[in-house]
């Protein structure tokens, strides 16, 4: 079983290829790499009265064959997000590199939940280790980040419709090509 898991998704697996079309296809490489890389991520949803609510997200996997991604959210903090998504489906996610504050935001709609498979769990372990390392560089003790209860995890499928540069500065908020 372990051998099969490594064949499916070896621990040193590289990032997913960039989709050929859609907003993610035109993201600058340094921002595209944040989505599956060592970035702190937050998901935002909103309720029926347009009140926004954010939750810690724990990794994004990109589907190179579609404009869709999977956003992982620890089940312990997902209750309100799921209520909101079932109400209206609107979601956005920001990914920020802790060391240099490069940031990207993607916006889109919820396509539903899916079950986690072994490759997801391997991905989440790599994500956890990568974020632990980069946060440690900026002063977060490893033991603190390892305390985050990322499992069980909810896998939210998202159709990405817009992508924005969000690194602080005059270009923050600039839409990437492919964003309407």
């Amino acid at each position: 079983m372990l051998r099969l898991l490594h064949m499916l998704n070896p621990p040193d697996a590289g990032p997913s290829p960039r989709p050929a079309t859609g907003p993610l296809s035109t993201l600058p490489p340094e921002l595209f790499s944040l989505l599956e890389g060592a970035a702190v991520q937050h998901l935002v949803t909103r309720n029926a009265t347009l009140a926004p609510s954010s939750a810690l997200a724990f990794g994004v996997r990109i589907d190179p064959d579609s404009p869709n991604v999977t956003v992982f959210v620890p089940a312990s903090v997902a209750t309100i997000a799921l209520q909101n998504l079932r109400d209206n489906g609107q979601m956005a996610l920001t990914a920020v590199g802790p060391a240099d504050v490069r940031a990207v935001q993607i916006k889109g709609v919820w396509l539903g939940e899916r079950r986690l498979d072994d490759s997801d769990r391997a991905f989440l372990l790599r994500y956890r280790d990568a974020v632990t390392n980069v946060l440690n560089v900026v002063g977060v003790p490893r033991s603190r980040w390892r305390q985050v209860a990322w499992s069980p995890t909810v896998a939210l499928r998202m159709e990405v419709r817009e992508a924005y540069v969000q690194t602080p500065g005059p270009a923050a908020g600039t839409p990437c090509e492919g964003t309407p």
Binding site: L50, P74, Q90, A92, V101, V138, G139, P170, A172
Partner: protein, 479 residues
């Protein structure tokens, strides 16, 4: 509701805070923010440096949410907000602008990276989230990476008596000081021993009124006495220019934000020249700063700068508390820097000191060949070098040169402050000339670079020139 004050340390967290909004069309938006500003028990503010999607959203739909992380426990606080107003002036705006401009200046972005408005939000509720954390395993060994972050004083209120005690201590020690040099020594000593602030320095305004020079410091390998800071540059220069207290915790977090913006501006090639980044004076790995203007009747006499490796060393309440200390220090500096009247207590102390000095002098000195010292004075910038090494410049440079020449040419060894004040060639301003502070600076620079030339005090308003070496004085037009 959880008191806002009790979570103020989360407002500058290592993990970036996020601000969530939603457009009138129902599209949510989320952005990371470097800092949440505490306004009062019901309000916080967020800086706006650019008009962006967040701004448009809050104007359309005032509902918002901020998520902050506790830097010690990693617990999360979610603040449900309602946009109240945007301020472009006033105390909140000024405090946020000072902080942003200080970081901008520190990253070479002065004048480019500035505050447009302080967006003020009413805090409707605070949700304390801990469900995302597993309980720590009791068998875990202590984590060597864990920083020393003492509990937030606002969360664990200190005994009032303790604060009064330290205030009384510093006040008493300052009152005992007979002169400015002793006063600065007592202030830094009390900050270290009574307050626990181990790294501190005092800078005074120089004769140009646009620069500060370090007159005393404590806790550093190099004293830095004589180092200069131009008004408006870096944290200290910004405090001098704006005359407002500046507290920056999680300094690295703020700098990362500033540097990200600098990189973004540089890559945008706007043609605006960026100034080189200036290094922080003092601790190279400082994580927290508290910089206080020293004001007397609204006039800046100097700056008191504290720093710490602890990312959460200074809390909100320190601003008010240390503001009291800064006022005391400023008044003390003013009292001792401008008065030349002979003080009998100080005179007595000095007389005793002089007797002790005399007793030391009565002992047979060790027989050593006098050292030869080559002093060069450069007329174009009033700069003095000793044995090829920079010593001092400007007013203290001119004073030293006058003293050395008088000693060599006329054999004089006793001088008064009054005669220096009356010498138009020294360029001292007619009012508040800071002569005392210039002499302190000169003494300390001599002690560091040329200890065989000394200017010991001989009572208030009088001092001597003592030289244990052979002098060679050269005057040049320029280097």
């Amino acid at each position: 509701m959880i008191p806002l004050e009790s979570i103020s340390r989360c407002f500058e967290g290592i993990v970036p805070a996020t601000l969530s909004t939603c457009s009138a069309a129902g599209i949510p938006n989320i952005s990371s923010i470097s800092h949440v500003q505490y306004v009062d028990a019901r309000h916080v503010a967020v800086s706006r440096q650019f008009f962006n999607k967040t701004t448009r959203n809050i104007l359309e739909n005032p509902q918002a949410s901020v998520t902050v992380w506790d830097p010690v426990t990693f617990e999360i606080y979610i603040l449900t907000l309602r946009y109240a107003r945007s301020e472009t002036s006033g105390p909140t705006f000024d405090r946020m602008a000072t902080r942003i401009e200080a970081i901008a200046s520190h990253t070479g972005m002065a004048g480019i990276f500035r505050l447009l408005a302080a967006d003020v939000f009413e805090v409707l509720s605070i949700y304390h989230l801990t469900e995302h954390l597993n309980p720590p395993e009791k068998s875990d060994p202590p984590d060597p990476d864990l920083p020393d972050m003492s509990p937030e004083p606002a969360a664990v209120p200190p005994e009032q008596r303790e604060e009064l005690w330290v205030l009384q201590r510093i006040s008493s020690r300052m009152n005992q000081a007979p002169d400015l040099e002793a006063l600065l020594e007592e202030v830094l000593g009390s900050l270290n021993e009574d307050f626990g602030f181990t790294h501190a320095k005092v800078l005074l305004v120089d004769e140009t009124g646009r620069r500060l020079f370090t007159v005393a410091s404590r806790g550093y390998d190099e004293s830095g006495v004589g180092s200069e800071v131009v008004f408006g540059e870096g944290l200290i220069g910004t405090v001098a220019r704006d005359r407002r207290i500046l507290r920056v915790n999680q300094m690295e977090s703020g700098l990362r934000y500033g540097r990200a913006m600098r990189a973004a501006v540089a890559s945008a090639s706007t043609g605006t020249p960026l100034r080189p980044e200036i290094p922080l004076p003092g601790l190279v790995d400082a994580q927290s700063h508290l910089v206080l203007p020293l004001l007397v009747r609204g006039r800046l006499v100097g700056v008191l700068a504290l720093e710490s490796r602890n990312p959460a060393a200074f809390a909100t309440w320190h601003e008010a508390f240390m503001g009291i200390v800064a006022d005391q220090v400023a008044a003390g500096i003013e009292r001792l820097a401008v008065s030349d009247a002979e003080d009998p207590v100080a005179a007595g102390r000095r007389a005793r000191g002089a007797k002790e000095d005399q007793a030391k002098e009565d002992q047979p000195p060790p027989v050593v060949a006098p050292r030869r010292r080559a002093f060069v004075f450069y007329q174009n910038d009033d700069c003095v070098f000793v044995d090829g090494e920079y010593l001092i410049r400007n007013v203290p440079g001119r004073i030293l040169w006058k003293l050395l020449k008088a000693h060599q040419e006329m054999g004089r060894s006793e001088f008064t402050n009054r005669e220096l004040r009356l010498d138009p060639g020294l360029g001292l301003p007619s009012l508040r000339d800071n002569l005392e502070s210039r002499l302190i600076l000169l003494r300390q620079r001599l002690a560091q670079k040329c200890p065989d030339v000394r200017l010991p005090s001989r009572g208030r308003g009088r001092f001597a020139v003592e030289i244990d070496s052979e002098l060679a004085l050269t005057e040049r037009a320029s280097a």
